[in-house]
């Protein structure tokens, strides 16, 4: 099968006179790195070959007829029509072929649905336009969005050739890390609109729907880096919310987990200390580029009619509490950043927009103040639950 596939690829490329194809590129579906993805691939090949064979037969008959049954070669038209036997045959045979395809398809379908005995769970939340990952078994929690290099290069007239950017549009700032040979259950939901979480090498994608939870599972057999992206149209930057999954050997994964815990402690420390205005503004600039610029634009000019400008905005140049609560809670298409950003990032970007992008209010908000607000919100939410 593999050989046929390669031959096919080579012929097609030669026919089109293309000297080089990209190394990581396939013409066909990828086999992927899980049992499920292999089953899906086999099913795909089965269906493909059935179609190829039927195609050869039907088109063969048609072209034979087109060649030999032409008026110009003097063929006289016969006047037969309606033949019950023939009509029964060409109804029964396709039916049998369909049954032959339905059986393995049903098996794979049932297998995909079997979430029993999963060893760990990850909750994935789709946001416009980033992914949030929560490891339900050990408090790891982070957001993952398009990496900076791609983000710069993808701006209109950026002057950067995407070919020079490693993994253009398929790279993130913080990848999802998982252990191999472990049955992982994914729980999907969304914060704003519907997204779809897709890593082709895992063999499936799943819609993430606000207010609902969908599930799927995987067990990756080979360590490596697997890339995918959001597959359901989710607004302006739908094309710019990739997914990167790094599958590690179990020990390496454990090491990564303890490293993450260390980082969390350090972050908590950073939120306690007093930051200078310059430190906050410098940090805020990157936070802005990664989280805000896609709508409010790099220079804070916004997009007239859809996204308001930051520069000279009455909220940004006005009372800081109004600005903070807007950022915390969101409004319309503006996401609620309260839980999305760390206290440090939140304080930094708040300070940055008041003192950059053509504004100069001159005040500063400290991470510790944000931290207090964030825990208030969490408390309120807990109250709601009761």
């Amino acid at each position: 099968m593999k050989q046929t596939k390669q031959l096919f690829a080579v012929f097609t490329l030669m026919a089109l006179g293309l000297g080089s194809a990209h190394a990581d590129y396939t013409l066909n579906l990828m086999k992927g790195v899980t049992q499920l993805s292999n089953d899906v691939y086999d099913l795909h090949m089965l269906a493909l070959w059935i179609c190829v064979v039927i195609g050869i037969l039907v088109f063969g008959a048609m072209f034979y007829s087109i060649y030999f049954h032409r008026k110009s070669v003097g063929h006289k038209a016969e006047q037969f029509h309606e033949n019950t036997t023939v009509e029964i045959i060409w109804t029964i045979i396709p039916t049998l072929i369909l049954v032959g395809m339905a059986i393995p398809a049903t098996k794979t379908m049932l297998e995909m649905d079997d979430l029993k005995e999963s060893e760990m769970s990850i909750k994935v939340t789709g946001w416009q336009w980033k992914w949030e990952y929560e490891y339900l078994d050990n408090d790891i929690h982070f957001f993952s969005s398009l990496d900076e290099a791609s983000n710069k290069a993808r701006q209109i007239d950026s002057g950067i050739d995407p070919r020079d950017v490693p993994h253009y549009l398929l790279n993130v700032d913080k990848p999802l890390v998982v252990p191999i040979n472990t049955k992982i259950r994914f729980l999907f939901t969304a914060a704003d609109v519907i997204h779809s979480w897709w890593v082709p090498d895992l063999g499936w994608k799943k819609d993430t729907i606000p207010g609902f939870v969908t599930e799927a599972w995987t067990s990756i057999e080979k360590a490596g880096t697997y890339r995918g992206q959001c597959a359901e149209l989710c607004g302006k930057d739908h094309g710019f919310m990739p997914i990167v999954v790094i599958a590690k050997e179990k020990e390496d994964y454990e090491a990564w987990v303890s490293e993450q815990k260390g980082i969390a402690v350090a972050e908590a420390g950073a939120a306690e200390k007093d930051w200078s205005s310059d430190e906050l503004i410098a940090k805020g600039e990157t936070v802005y580029a990664n989280n805000c610029a896609s709508c409010h634009m790099d220079d804070g000019a916004g997009l007239s009619g859809t996204f308001p400008a930051i520069t000279k905005s009455s909220i940004v140049t006005g009372d800081i509490d109004t600005q903070t609560s807007l950022l915390m809670e969101g409004k319309g298409m503006m996401p609620a950043f309260g839980q999305m950003l760390s206290a440090v990032d939140f304080a930094a970007v708040s300070t940055f927009i008041r003192n950059g992008l053509g504004n100069s209010v001159g005040d500063v908000i400290q991470p510790s103040a944000i931290k207090a607000l964030q825990s208030d919100i969490t408390l309120e939410e807990d109250d709601d639950d009761e």
Partner: protein
């Protein structure tokens, strides 16, 4: 013998009114047919220009021309304009022109409503187009208008929704008219099983339209109230469900794709026997297969939603039901092949487009069958593989057959012959470029490129470039068609065509018993005899 009565037997003026007013107030089925067809052709170019904007942006990785929000508006508007502005109206235009002539009727049953449904279509499309200039831009949520995303549309949302209402009403009126005409105005000898297949397929399409357009109207009205009147049909926070919208939409949407393909089948079944000089192989089984497809189209909708997390029983049911569609579809394809078999074929342009239709539509059917397998659709869904699938079933199928129909009936409509050499050029350019345009999209989808994205990873660059090149050949080469139509109306090759136009056509269908061009009013008295070569005898 003449079945045509042009003589004055009452006081009505038998020629058309003069000047521009003729086209505004006309109730004549031929005039209205012409209006529909010309409007559809215009919209084909409007929608096509949007597609070229999309393909220009996708020519190379990186963002070059448009911002992502506008790109999304383009994919949305392209689809809406093509579906509701081009393909559907074009078939209504053909129905207007041909159904009365094919069943031996003087006109459509409800001529004033006919006029109204055309102008409502124009109003609907203009309203839709106006959203491009509104604050916040045109709808950008895909033609499927899924909430919650669609609720983020700017000022355009209520206008787009009202436009859908207008288009829906226009379609329903068109459908009622077709059904009323077919049931009430057939020549005495034209029993149901003697109707040409084009008439049959439109009859069934008419019922589909009446069943589904109100459903779509309901769905978008719920969007309207969700956005403006605080309901929460589709908002989980208020106890609603965004997936509910998808169920309603696809209950409309899947039959809708058959609204665009069933009349296509009908035209192909009309053209192929004539150029094969043979009866259609299985008339009755074609009628039954059409009915079967129409029935199945109502019970397979959730194959567009395999990923929303339906219960297993649902997934399996929709998988099996969808696979069943392959059977009647196969019957059709085998029938066309058997009709060509041992014929005496000639390859005038209508036949060339029809053969290309059979082959390329079959490819769309193959990918459809593959996608019906739910677990594999988990990979295919929302990728360029889907884009390739439905474009194969729409462009080299519906659109090719519309072109075929144009060449096939133009001599009847105008009395002039089109330029066969130019038409063949149009065919070959279209047939080759459409494959350069859409075939590589199968590879892109399988390799992992999602649909509806304005920019892509560099490993997708080669095929996207090839696809765009195909688009830039396909699009402009359609201008040849416009030129040919214009020349034909103006006198064509100068050769005056007979009533029959195509050898033996008189044996196949009634319109060829009329003179060419067909007089403004035809069959004021029903024809005595009807041709039955390709129907049941």
């Amino acid at each position: 013998m003449s079945a045509v009565t042009v003589e004055d037997h009452d006081h009505h003026d038998h020629g058309p009114a003069k000047g521009l007013l003729r086209w505004i107030v006309t109730t004549n089925h031929k005039d209205i047919g012409t209006l529909y067809l010309l409007f559809a052709l215009l919209m084909f170019f409007v929608g096509g220009s949007m597609a070229l904007i999309i393909r220009a942006e996708l020519f190379e990785p990186g963002m070059q021309f448009v911002d992502p929000q506008f790109f999304n508006s383009m994919t949305t508007m392209h689809a809406l304009v093509m579906v509701f502005g081009a393909v559907m109206p074009a078939f209504v235009g053909l129905a207007n022109w041909m159904i009365p002539m094919m069943i031996g009727a003087p006109d459509m049953a409800l001529p004033r409503m006919n006029n109204m449904s055309f102008w409502m279509l124009v109003a609907g499309v203009l309203l839709l187009a106006s959203t491009l200039f509104m604050e916040g831009g045109a709808p950008a949520s895909g033609w499927t208008l899924y909430p919650p995303l669609v609720l983020q549309t700017g000022n355009a949302l209520p206008f787009a929704i009202f436009s859908v209402h207008l288009l829906g009403m226009s379609s329903i009126m068109g459908a009622i008219n077709v059904i009323a005409t077919i049931f009430n105005m057939r020549a005495p000898k034209m029993t149901l099983m003697k109707m040409p297949l084009f008439v049959w397929t439109w009859l069934i399409t008419g019922f589909l339209l009446i069943a589904i357009m109100p459903v779509f109207a309901g769905a978008v009205t719920m969007l309207l109230t969700d956005r403006f009147f605080d309901t929460s049909f589709f908002d989980a926070a208020g106890g609603g469900d965004p997936v509910l919208y998808q169920h309603i939409f696809w209950f409309f949407g899947h039959p809708e794709v058959y609204v665009m393909i069933l009349p296509t089948f009908g035209v192909a079944s009309t053209i192929i026997p004539i150029f094969a000089r043979k009866p259609l192989f299985g008339y009755a089984s074609m009628v039954y297969a059409t009915a079967a497809i129409a029935f199945l189209s109502f019970i397979v909708w959730a194959h567009h939603m395999f990923l929303v997390g339906m219960p297993m029983a649902g997934e399996l049911y929709f998988m099996y039901a969808t696979m069943l569609i392959a059977i009647p579809t196969g019957v059709k394809i085998f029938n066309w092949t058997a009709t060509m078999w041992k014929g005496a074929m000639t390859f005038e342009t209508p036949m060339l487009f029809s053969i290309a239709f059979v082959v390329l539509f079959t490819m769309g059917g193959f990918t459809g069958l593959m996608m019906a397998l739910a677990p594999v659709d988990f990979q295919y869904h929302d990728t360029y593989f889907i884009v390739a699938h439905f474009h194969y079933t729409l462009v080299p199928a519906s659109v090719f057959i519309l072109m075929a129909a144009g060449y096939f009936w133009l001599p009847k409509w105008t009395g002039n012959m089109y330029d066969e050499r130019l038409a063949k050029l149009h065919f070959w350019l279209s047939a080759i470029s459409v494959n350069i345009l859409f075939f590589p999209q199968h590879f892109l989808g399988l390799a992992g490129m999602p649909r509806r994205i304005p920019d892509y990873a560099v490993q997708f660059a080669d095929w996207n470039m090839i696809s765009s090149i195909g688009a830039f050949i396909y699009g402009p080469s359609q201008l040849i068609f416009v030129y040919i139509v214009y020349k034909t109306i103006k006198g064509g090759t100068g050769e005056k065509v007979t009533g029959e136009v195509w050898e033996g056509a008189k044996e196949q269908s009634l319109e060829w018993t009329l003179p060419s061009p067909a007089p403004y009013h035809t069959f004021s008295t029903p024809p005595e005899e009807i041709p039955t070569m390709s129907t049941s005898r």
